[in-house]
Amino acid sequence: MLRLRCGDIKIMEKERGRIMSKKLISLADCCVAFDGELVLDHINLYFNDSEFLTLLGPSGCGKTTTLRIIGGFLTPTSGEVLFDGVRINDIPPNQRQVNTVFQRYALFPHLNVFENVAFGLRVPKTETVEGRKKKVKIPEEEIRQRVLEMLEVVSLKGFENRRITELSGGQQQRVAIARALVNRPKVLLLDEPLGALDLRLRKDMQSELKRIQQQLGITFIYVTHDQEEALAMSDTIVVMDQGRIQQIGTPEDIYNEPKNAFVADFIGESNILDGVMHEDFVVEFFNRKFKCLDKGFGPMEPVDVVIRPEDVDIVPPEKGQLRGTVTSVTFKGVHYDTIVDFKGFKWLIQTTDYHPEGETIGIILNPDDIHIMHKSEYSGMFGDYSSYSEEYDELEDVSLLEEDGEGGDEE
């Protein structure tokens, strides 16, 4: 109980901090339609200075489209894009103080590493000198120094003369980051930059990126469909689905207080059950009343109840608030994924103790293990682990495919 209260205060502090720091970019009521089909649906979002913000959502939810609006490659069908409070809808990408790390890197194959990174620096900048516009070129010596410096930041010192085709996926990825960062943008957009890397390299690059972001103090707008990645790296997470923002918050916020069944299911594993809120702090499900920490719901309001698999305490059957039968157990290293049948509804429980298939167990739910959400269009779509084994196989296939892509980083 105490634990969550502390968490609450922390979240509030973080949230207040977010509001108080400087808004750099805002999307005001942005919609994007392709051939009449709404791909972004009234997006309202702001990005703070020096913030690591992640757009998280399943493939096809509109993350790339959102980035393209900010980068200037796409003009929203309606709504405004503001940079430092100035409308930039019609400013072309080459005049925005934003740089992008593209989903497939988009490195120039005809240039070597040095020239790729130097590309942006070699573009003459228009500057107003004594009231007159002048094209200013960065001196070659400075270009050289900045490129080499940046290559060092991304740990690619000594690779200047390599051809792009001679680099591994991870190295190409870092060239793409260096190429963008060397221009000292105010904002860096990253579109699933680690998607093509294998698991180990992905983890390394995650902390690397976080380090670079903190070192340079630049706003990162990061796109991923990987919830673990989002939780690990972000100051703020924006969960999206079907072109709509589902929730905005800190990683703790999003994990502990998901706003609807979609967020609860997408961020980690969740058991989601139908319940009824009797009064403040009392919820009923499985014909039993439980104490909880949520309030402000209507009397007898139907709600979604979220219970995280790791929060459930297993006890002997006679001591439990609920009794169920174990139907499957999978060893996952740190814990066992245990599927338990409660009156036909199957839960996922993660426990370090082994309970064999067929065993009857009891469970205890503490008030801070129970999270209440309003009903939404996603209610009933997620959170039942009856089809768990298939879901598990599917996930495994996906990760296998992803890790197939690159041979890894040799150094």
Binding site: G71, P93, N99, A106, F119
Partner: protein, 288 residues
């Protein structure tokens, strides 16, 4: 397993040997042989007489290639930037003339360019020729009743450009069309305006297409004989005509013909190698 797969290659290897390697060997043998069967270099040394034909062939082919490039590159570039429906239509229109017989197309140009042809009739009817005569009269020039177009180098170059332009457009178009759009976006993202994006990204990346286009226009141009005969009116003899004469014409001398073919082939190959070298092995250009 490996042997089995090699088996599939047999027909192709056989075909290539029979119709590519053997003929080339025959050309080489002929070029170094006399009619009596002896070995000689005379076929090559006697070629000096035809230096002007060599020069003209390469000069006109070069000109035609250059003009094709100047027309073809922008055409390919702008087509590739349009919508898919326009692209399909444009490609069809570009290929349409190729569905007609090559000789027929060239004959039609004859009737357009002739002294009494369509163009001259048009010029006459709109008074262009009278106008010219009026002005020429002031400078004491004799009046003309037509503009001389057929039989000029210009007509030959026009015929080459007309016939081979699609071979320039198609490879350039397909390279630009397949170019990764995100590369252009990346360049823009890094601050490059459209002119710079073109110069620094599109142009260098489309060079392989340019090289194949140049090859595919230059090689048939330099060896053409129908175009130069029909549109050159017999005054613009090119290597193709010269070689043809040695085999089919009055100047029957297959040994000299083979020698000229060989020299031409060597020069073309050297040109291509040099050009490909310029492209710096940037993706392999198509060698014909």
């Amino acid at each position: 397993m490996k042997n089995k797969r090699a088996l599939f290659a047999v027909p192709y290897v056989g075909w290539m040997t029979l119709f590519v390697v053997v003929p080339i060997i025959m050309v080489v043998i002929y070029a170094f042989a006399t009619a009596e069967g002896g070995v000689t270099l005379e076929n090559f040394s006697s070629m000096g007489t035809y230096a002007s034909v060599f020069t003209r062939s390469f000069w006109l082919a070069l000109l035609a290639t250059l003009i094709c490039l100047l027309i073809g590159y922008p055409a390919a570039y702008f087509i590739s930037r349009e919508g898919p429906r326009f692209q399909r239509l444009a490609m069809m229109l570009i290929m349409l003339p190729m569905w007609m017989n090559f000789l027929l197309r060239t004959y039609s140009w004859m009737s357009v360019l002739e002294n009494n042809g369509l163009l001259n009739q048009l010029f006459r009817n709109i008074g262009l020729i009278s106008l010219y005569n009026g002005i020429a009269g002031l400078f004491g020039r004799a009046p003309v009743d037509h503009f001389q177009m057929i039989g000029t180098p210009g007509a030959v170059v026009l015929g080459m450009v007309y016939n081979y332009l699609p071979f320039m457009i198609l490879p350039i178009y397909s390279v630009i069309e397949k170019m990764d759009r995100s590369l252009l976006e990346a360049a823009q993202d890094l601050g490059a305006g459209s002119a710079r994006v073109f110069r620094k990204v599109i142009l260098p990346l489309s060079l392989p297409g340019v090289l194949s286009g140049v090859t595919m226009v230059f090689v048939p141009s330099v060896s053409t004989f129908a175009i130069s005969r029909l549109l050159g009116g017999g005054t613009q003899m090119m290597l193709g005509d010269l070689i043809e004469q040695q085999f089919l014409g009055g100047a029957y001398n297959p040994h000299l013909g083979a020698a000229i073919s060989l020299v031409m082939m060597v020069i073309v190959v050297v040109c291509m190698v040099v050009m490909n070298h310029f492209g710096e092995g940037e993706e392999q250009a198509v060698m014909l």
